[in-house]
């Protein structure tokens, strides 16, 4: 119910379109507060800098301009929850040939679009305007005497209700092959409780699938409880229902009672024994796309272009084009640093997306792409 002092007549008379503020009222606060869950959404997007989000900050896009609606169904597929009522992609407006000026560089960038999600280059760091929570250890909760310490961003490392946290700002995403489909663990699904890490969501994809693309993710990591006998994730009862509540963790600090009640609420049994396990959730990075001139430059991934040899590895260098300038222009993290972002460690970084971890032998310029062997004019590499 709305607050008592809200003049509902006035509200109804001034009905209008949805806005970043109306959608963000819930979606910016995912996880219990601003920017906690979403690596790429926060109240910062109400009035974002142009360099923080080109769509919302440069052109004042509202959410529904991309997340088109039909019969009140809102398109978009989330990585955190399974529900989707239509999808949104950059290609809907930008096409699958998004670099359109016809230059040699554009040609190569459009080829990249077949293998890379746009945000690999166009949003090279997440939580670029505000720190987001990346670690949440529930097992440490319950110590009312522990004084929270503030990290370098001024964010607390502890809350007795919730446990221990880590925050990151302007962080490098994890890059994974993604086909757009997710594996998910639902309430009641069996998990491998002997595994080091349980993935609650993880993208499905492969270097060998032409439909999969290298995609940036924030991985929300944490420690939470698993039923040691039934092998499913436990749902605790946290928030007290009323003054008489005897089971809520945030009132009674008793996990046993909280699990029993919480599991009862979702219709499952609690065996009476639990284990703390590390769990990961993959969150695809979609928003906070930066202006084109702040995209990653070629050298930031391709170490092979860092030296004297650049485009002239394949192309004749007798034209009136500065190859080095082409290969090495782009986001300069020093610019982001000057804007107050915590990116100093990224300046001069190369192999940004880690080719080997993605299944390549190394820099594809030297070792070949996933479906093509390019090398022309230089020795076969071992």
């Amino acid at each position: 119910m709305p607050k008592k002092d809200v003049d509902l007549k006035f509200v109804a008379e001034n009905v209008g379109h949805s806005s970043r503020a109306s959608c963000g009222g819930c979606h910016f606060n995912g996880g219990g507060g601003d920017a906690i869950k979403h690596a790429d959404m926060s109240r910062q997007l109400l009035k974002p800098d142009r360099s923080c989000d080109i769509h919302m900050g440069g052109y004042d896009f509202s959410c529904t301009e991309c997340h088109k609606t039909r019969n009140h169904k809102i398109s978009g597929r989330s990585s955190s929850v399974p529900v989707a009522e239509g999808m949104v992609s950059c290609e809907q407006c930008h096409s699958d040939q998004p670099h359109y000026c016809g230059s040699l560089l554009d040609h190569h960038l459009n080829t990249h679009s077949k293998t890379l999600d746009c945000n690999v280059c166009h949003s090279p760091v997440f939580a670029k305007c505000k720190p987001t929570k990346t670690w949440w250890d529930w097992s440490k909760a319950g110590d009312k005497n522990r004084k929270p310490k503030k990290d370098k961003y001024g964010k607390p490392d502890y809350n007795w209700k919730k446990g221990e946290f880590k925050w990151e700002e302007s962080a490098v995403p994890d890059y994974v092959w993604d086909s757009g489909y997710m594996n998910r663990v639902f309430i009641g699904d069996k998990v491998d409780i002997n595994a080091d890490i349980i993935n609650l969501t993880e993208p499905v994809g492969s270097i060998n699938d032409p439909g999969s693309k290298i995609t940036p993710f924030k991985i929300m990591k944490g420690i939470q409880a698993v039923d040691a006998d039934y092998d499913y994730i436990l749902v605790p009862h946290l928030y007290p229902r009323n003054k008489e509540d005897k089971t809520a963790y945030w009132k009674n600090l008793d996990w046993e009672k909280a699990f029993e009640d919480g599991m009862d609420a979702v219709g499952l049994e609690y065996s009476g024994s639990y284990k703390w396990k590390e769990t990961w959730m993959y969150w695809r990075l979609e928003h906070e796309v930066m202006p084109a001139n702040m995209a990653l430059s070629c050298v930031q991934c391709h170490e092979s272009l860092k030296g004297d040899k650049t485009c002239n590895r394949c192309h004749q260098d007798n034209r009136n084009i500065d190859f080095k300038k082409i290969a090495q222009k782009g986001t300069d993290f020093s610019f982001m640093k000057s804007k107050g972002r915590d990116v100093e460690h990224l300046i001069e970084k190369t192999d940004y997306i880690n080719f080997k971890a993605l299944g390549y032998k190394g820099d594809p310029i030297i070792h070949g792409g996933r479906f093509k062997r390019l090398p022309m004019g230089y020795k076969k590499h071992e």
């Binding site: 008379e13 019969n71 929850v81 529900v83 998910r184 639902f186």
Partner: protein
């Protein structure tokens, strides 16, 4: 006593300045959008005489002149003509990616189909230089700016089977002023408000009840093993670690 009063006045003046500064800071404008909005507001002088080249001549002329996408200075426009708004104002501006269209079409003459007769004028000019008010008795052959936009956009989008052809695909409909439409007593309660909305918007009400935002569950077409399910969501089975 006097000093106290002066101090008080200075303090109050300070407050006013601070409040003004805060209010000023509140007004946020997206820079690219603002630039485009300013451009959209301008009404340029009407070009009375134009050179009636045959389409193919015009195309070749532009190409021979070496005019290409490299000459496109305005990447992005908001189409929000004050000429149209003088008569009717039902829609929000259209975002028009000018350079992107130019790159895709690779033929400037598709839109810049004639040029001003004045030899000193630029080869290309904005739509609203030639197309202004509709039914101008001095230029009965000239369609107005609204018709020009719609004929040009819809015709090409249809022919190319690309881009929107429906109203809302290009511009958001403005919400009519509801001050006189809404009939509610002062201090209306939430149930009265909902009932009043549904008085006209009953279909939308029905639609809303079937959405994931209402039900907190729905189809999961992108979740492996559950692609045909329709009951997963935060309200039912979703798990998290935060």
């Amino acid at each position: 006593m006097k000093i106290k009063m002066v101090r008080k006045i200075i303090f109050l003046a300070g407050l006013v300045i601070l409040a003004t500064a805060l209010c000023m800071a509140e007004v946020w404008k997206a820079p690219d959008q603002e630039k485009a909005r300013e451009k959209a507001k301008k009404i340029v002088p009407f070009i009375k005489e134009y050179k009636d080249d045959c389409k193919i001549n015009r195309k070749i002329c532009l190409m021979d002149a070496g005019i290409s996408i490299k000459d496109v200075k305005d990447v992005y426009f908001l189409l929000d003509s004050p000429i149209i708004k003088k008569r009717e104002d039902h829609y929000e501006p259209v975002r028009f990616a000018h350079k992107r269209h130019a790159a895709l079409i690779q033929d400037c003459s598709m839109c810049h189909h004639y040029r001003p007769k004045d030899e000193n004028a630029l080869e290309t000019t904005r739509c609203s230089a030639c197309h202004q008010d509709s039914f101008n008795p001095d230029h009965p052959e000239r369609i107005g700016i609204k018709a020009a936009y719609h004929q040009q956009c819809v015709k090409c989008h249809t022919a190319e089977a690309k881009g929107p052809v429906d109203c809302k695909g290009c511009h958001l409909q403005k919400v009519p002023d509801h001050k006189d439409l809404v009939k509610l007593p002062d201090n209306a309660d939430p149930f009265q408000v909902t009932a009043e909305c549904l008085r006209c918007h009953d279909t939308q009400g029905e639609d809303m009840l079937k959405t994931a935002h209402w039900l907190w569950k729905g189809p999961s077409p992108y979740t492996t093993g559950h692609r045909k399910d329709i009951m997963h969501g935060k309200g039912t089975t979703a798990l998290n670690n935060y």
